[in-house]
Symmetry: C2
């Protein structure tokens, strides 16, 4: 077997203790209410060590979830362009990530969230704080509507991933990504910026 | 414990042998190619016995899947009305079933399909042959577009069920069904009858 090389920050035991404490805290209290200080206390380490190993709270959360990508690095590309193209760019990026090797980890995460209440909570926190909030903060829409808009976008995108990569319903399973971008982007754009009849 | 009453057709062993053979056949060959004759042969019984126990191939399939509802009984209500209201009626019916006691079985089925390739195949066959085909057959659209239209509808509806009943993302998790009908129906209507940019 090939030996893993490269920097391995911290002892595995300490890292795992922090990640375990982080998973519990993020699932129980939610991302916003969970604190690095409390996570460190649960893991029996100094908060500075958590920052040293994992960086920011966002990064600790991504590590705790085994997130295959960092939305904080991807989403600026989406929100940078024109407002009427944000749905298209979001669907294209989403399908690109799922069609990449990261998609395998995405399927594993989705499976786990479907069968495990705690992973479902982590996935929910991930969607809200790492993905939807970053997209929605850049839109000039009524703040009161943001949660509904965000969850509608999530429902369409997660449904698309389930059909393409898990249930494998044709033609969604095999269609070129751009075919799906063309038909689904108007839905996501309407959820993000359209008039919602509520 | 209360004893179950009512008709209990057939010995449990024979019924289970037929259902096992049916699950295998429907998952391996698909609904259309699976035959009652072959299923009966695998189970070691006469085809007439399969019909006697389960009725039609549709009904055998629903029993094999533990389907909590029979779309064949529900969908005629959807397709009966005006064409422009079919999206709204479909979303309303779908949410009604998932919000009813049948939704618990739906969640179980979805969980199983996410973790088990064979259940995923059965769910796919169920969506196509029992739900989508019945809806789409009544629409006056290009037959070549039907598979894409159907799978898009499935992606939005399954995503909605996942967010409302599994991941429990707010406000979708707690919103009145009619709120979701109002915002999601236009999406489903467009997938069913709108112009698709393909």
């Amino acid at each position: 077997m090939a030996r893993r090389t490269g920097r391995r920050p911290g002892k595995p035991d300490t890292r795992e203790a922090i990640l375990d404490a982080a998973r519990t805290a993020f699932a129980e209290r939610g991302f916003d209410a969970a604190s690095i200080r409390a996570i460190a206390a649960t893991a029996g380490v100094d908060p500075a060590l958590v920052h040293h190993y994992f960086g920011s709270k966002d990064q600790l959360f991504l590590a705790a979830m085994n997130a295959p990508v960092n939305p904080g690095e991807l989403i600026p590309r989406i929100v940078a362009g024109d407002r009427d193209g944000i749905g298209e760019r979001l669907v294209r990026l989403f399908l690109g990530v799922w069609d990449s090797p990261a998609g395998t980890a995405g399927v594993a995460l989705l499976r786990s969230a479907m069968s495990n209440e705690w992973t479902a909570r982590l996935l929910r926190e991930f969607l809200v704080t790492q993905v939807l909030r970053r997209v929605l903060d850049h839109l000039d829409v009524d703040p009161a509507e943001l949660p509904l808009r965000g969850s509608l976008v999530a429902s369409q995108l997660i449904g698309l991933a389930v059909m393409r990569h898990v249930v494998r319903l044709e033609p969604i399973a095999s269609a070129p990504a751009e075919t799906l971008v063309a038909v689904v982007a108007p839905t996501v754009q309407r959820y993000l910026t359209g008039d919602l009849p509520t």
